[in-house]
């Protein structure tokens, strides 16, 4: 089984991407990697990292897509970019099951949706990141940006797909699905929510628990939070932004407070580190684009080798967990 890696995307490309690949094959067996990008450069990095196994193949695709490219144009024109070549490879090789990219989200979404087949019955694939909660459980927030103006039926499918992910990969039994809204009461929501609510309620493929507020996304009360891609993106980034704001306020306070607060910081360092790790995308894996016949993991643009390794292993978990088969079964039939 093969997993493909777009080496020329993200802030720390290519070194951290190649290192992530090497670390992934060292840590886990049962898959091969196919790396796309500037072949010469990648081979030289593999040498530098003293990799001399036979589980990593490199395919030359020297063009790159940046955040400044318009996704649809880039996907159409830059066919020899590491991303498009990787997606085309996925399309043409049945033993290639998934892709990891830390490149432009727009290009990864557009390229995957345009070039790959959807799972039978799925109308709209959607982006599903894994977030930490105050408990030890994770929560899935879907959609986070792929569909800014979805219809109620799309949200029902998001719920089914994320539930499949939650049960097959995160091993949650009968995952609790909530609908993101501006209040927890049944009647809350905008027109999209109000139309979606009864459909979720009567869907027998999921365990729908009702509306949930933004305040409770990270509470652990739900295993899956369903929303349109516009609101989901805002919720996700509001959470991220607040976490960063608080870390920055703590840092400023420590600097301004003199020797006492600096000592306090040293003593509390393990606590801060633990929280940072919990909130850190490097540990939580990438966002999964669910709904296609291949597994697409969009790793954070600032991913270092650890995040890349985790995203590769995440593709393997999704494959081993038979998420696509589960979605096919729950939606396609």
């Amino acid at each position: 089984m093969k997993i493909v890696l777009d080496v020329y995307g993200g802030d720390f490309s290519p070194y951290e991407l190649v290192k992530g690949a090497v670390d992934a094959v060292s840590e886990n067996t049962g898959f091969e990697l196919v790396l796309f990008g500037n072949e010469k450069e990648i081979q030289s990095l593999l040498k530098q990292l003293e990799y001399n196994g036979n589980r990593i193949t490199v395919i030359n695709a020297p063009e790159t897509i940046t955040n400044d490219d318009i996704p649809t144009e880039a996907v159409r024109k830059k066919t020899n970019s590491s991303l498009v070549a990787a997606i085309n490879y996925l399309n043409e090789n049945s033993d290639a099951v998934g892709l990891v990219s830390a490149g432009s989200t727009g290009a990864v979404l557009t390229g995957s949706v345009l070039l790959l087949k959807r799972i039978k019955g799925v109308n709209r694939p959607a982006l599903c990141p894994v977030l930490p909660t105050v408990t030890n459980k994770k929560v899935l927030l879907m959609d986070c940006g792929a569909n800014v103006d979805p219809k109620p039926i799309n949200l029902v499918q998001f719920a089914i797909m994320a539930s499949a992910y939650s049960s097959c990969v995160l091993n949650i039994d009968n995952p609790k699905v909530a609908l993101l809204s501006n209040g927890a009461e049944d009647k809350k929501g905008n027109s999209l929510n109000k139309e979606t609510f009864p459909l979720l309620k009567k869907c027998n493929k999921i365990n729908f628990i009702g509306n949930i507020e933004g305040r409770d996304i990270l509470s652990g009360n739900a295993d899956v939070v369903v929303c349109d891609g516009y609101s989901g993106n805002i919720a996700l980034k509001s959470c991220e932004g607040t976490a960063l704001t608080m870390f920055s306020m703590i840092k400023d306070g420590i600097y301004a407070g003199g020797i006492k607060t600096k000592l306090g910081y040293l003593l509390l360092k393990p606590v801060f580190k633990q929280i940072k790790n919990k909130m850190d995308y490097n540990d939580n894996g990438g966002a999964v684009l669910l709904g296609l016949e291949k597994i697409i993991v969009k790793s954070h643009g600032s991913s270092k080798s650890k995040a890349i390794k985790n995203s590769i292993l995440q593709v393997k978990s999704l494959y081993d967990g038979k998420v696509i088969e589960k979605i096919e079964n729950d939606i396609g039939k």
Copy 2:
């Protein structure tokens, strides 16, 4: 000039509300307060708080509206509730300029919008909380829940109204207005955003700086963030929820860490306190419902006396800053 207070709303009613009223008149001059609720109980609390001035009047309105009431029904039927009586008083007395309530948001919004006059030209009043940022500036996020399905023209009016608040009360010169979206690029957004963007761009009453992501709401880059009430509510509560989650993680880490982390906590206590204060709604005042001829401040349900006092003084600041006149001038003409 009179400010009215709905004493029977919020988790700490009536004591903290009455105490907030007494504290407000002690701290600031230039206004009188009219308190609505169970007159006997309020008078007895005023006595207990040793208030014997003549700036607080009490009007008996013994019914109460709770979060379980359906707002439209409650407003129509419970005419002798502290909230509805207070709003009616506002309507009938030209020297009564504004209301503070910590009661059900739905009832406060519904009651105010149904019973009070809108500023000439304003189509939809909207809710505007004041949020902290990493800098010392505040940011206004409007709308946060009054209009879940607004039209582009409503968002333009939200921008004008919040700009008026920012310049007249927070003394921001030419406040920077951003449109909340799922990316900072001009073309990002759902269909509502895409229609609103060009209207904001050509509006000469505001200083529009483009789209802003959820991540940057608290960055201080914008003075006003405009959005529909559904997304705004989700953004606001996602920020609140993450802040609470992080405090709870820090607390758990400290407890689990033994004597070292507990000592660290003691040394860092002033830093945590400062951050808590900065993030605290008790210090940031209530959310203002802008667009009506009277000033409505919805204080947090968990408001203690300090938050109530601040909300009362906030009404005074809005009155002194002539926000309603500014909105009338910018929208009505």
